[in-house]
Symmetry: C2
């Protein structure tokens, strides 16, 4: 008797993610899955990164439920960009990325950013073929976030604390964010930045550059 177990959705997703990863590896491109809650500053971080990373050839895949605002912001930098509209889905999955692999010139790039849908929960559950996951947290969201949304902190290689310029105006305990994040994920690299003032951006870019070169 043969028993066949029906493949779970996550396994199907993982299989396609592996195909994406093979395509990225073949093109020798380093892929970052960028995640955060809505409005934490993912696109602003990409703008700062594109401005401040001379010599790096970067492409961007934008994921949004609706609209193309973010892709239009990125397009101004003259880099390859593709917009995916998920049409309601609250995260990108591997299949959505697979569908756009031919729309971005992987062979000519060093790094591809995949900007996920703004959501602190589900994006962390779906691999898309990335080398690393990086998350942003706007400090205006408060210091209780690591313990309330643990998975994303556990899955990420780096945590970018954004909007540090707002620190004087809000009641937020940055040390608690760091402590709780590191208790969930001791290897997490933490950056304190402001995409408004540019504070902390050079440190982030040099870490990113090193990661990409090591691939």
């Amino acid at each position: 008797m043969k028993v066949k177990v029906v493949t779970k959705i996550l396994e199907a997703n993982d299989r396609i993610a592996l195909e994406n990863r093979k395509a990225f590896d073949k093109a020798d491109v380093f892929v970052v899955n960028l995640m955060s809650a809505p409005g934490a500053g993912k696109t602003s971080l990409l703008e700062r990164t594109l401005s401040g990373s001379s010599g790096l050839k970067i492409g961007v895949i934008e994921g949004d439920i609706a609209g193309s605002d973010d892709a239009e912001r990125i397009e101004k930098f003259g880099v390859p960009v593709v917009q995916i509209n998920t049409g309601g889905a609250c995260h990108l999955d591997a299949n959505m990325i697979y569908e756009v692999l031919n729309d971005i010139p992987l062979d000519r790039l060093d790094i591809v950013f995949i900007e996920n849908v703004g959501n602190l929960v589900c994006p962390a559950e779906f691999k898309v073929g990335e080398d690393i996951k990086v998350m942003l947290l706007s400090i205006a969201e408060g210091h209780d976030k690591p313990l309330k949304y643990p998975l994303m902190f556990q899955e990420s290689s780096a945590l970018i604390l954004n909007k540090m310029d707002l620190a004087p105006y809000i009641d937020v305990d940055i040390q608690k964010i760091k402590k709780d994040s590191l208790s969930l994920n001791p290897k997490l690299k933490i950056f304190e930045v402001s995409c408004k003032t540019g504070e902390g951006i050079p440190e982030w870019i040099s870490w990113l550059r090193e990661k990409a070169q090591k691939k």
Copy 2:
């Protein structure tokens, strides 16, 4: 020949939501499904509402992926509160609320708030038996949110723009938020508040009081 169509998940959810609604109606309690992205200030709004609404008997159902921080904050006000941990699910559904109906003294309350999981997407898709949906948007999240996350703006009866005290320090176009929100939902009632300073809270509470009394 009889053809049976398998009930979709949302239909099953709607059926249980209807049962919840019957229980709320029987107890003559007004139920608000409170939604926002992570860190927009749902619990802070509840704290301000509990402080400023003398004469109203309020209970709270807290929804979080993990932890009981929010329920502990509410418990300090001496009101009935139940914490639901979704264990990974990025939204509350009707069945989760059905499971806790006996843990809250509906008959003795005027209003029950259901604080949903912090997520600007999926909570808007799942009825839980509420009379109205109310959403918060932290102005620090930016003015592009209505067009990027349209469903929640369409489903809500009121939009509470929180953290207005940060307006001088961030680049945000409040008029665009209002215009785009109203284009999605012309009946949307919009409040500008700061849960930090208390600005705008009395207007919100008197609107809420009127809605609850009309039930």
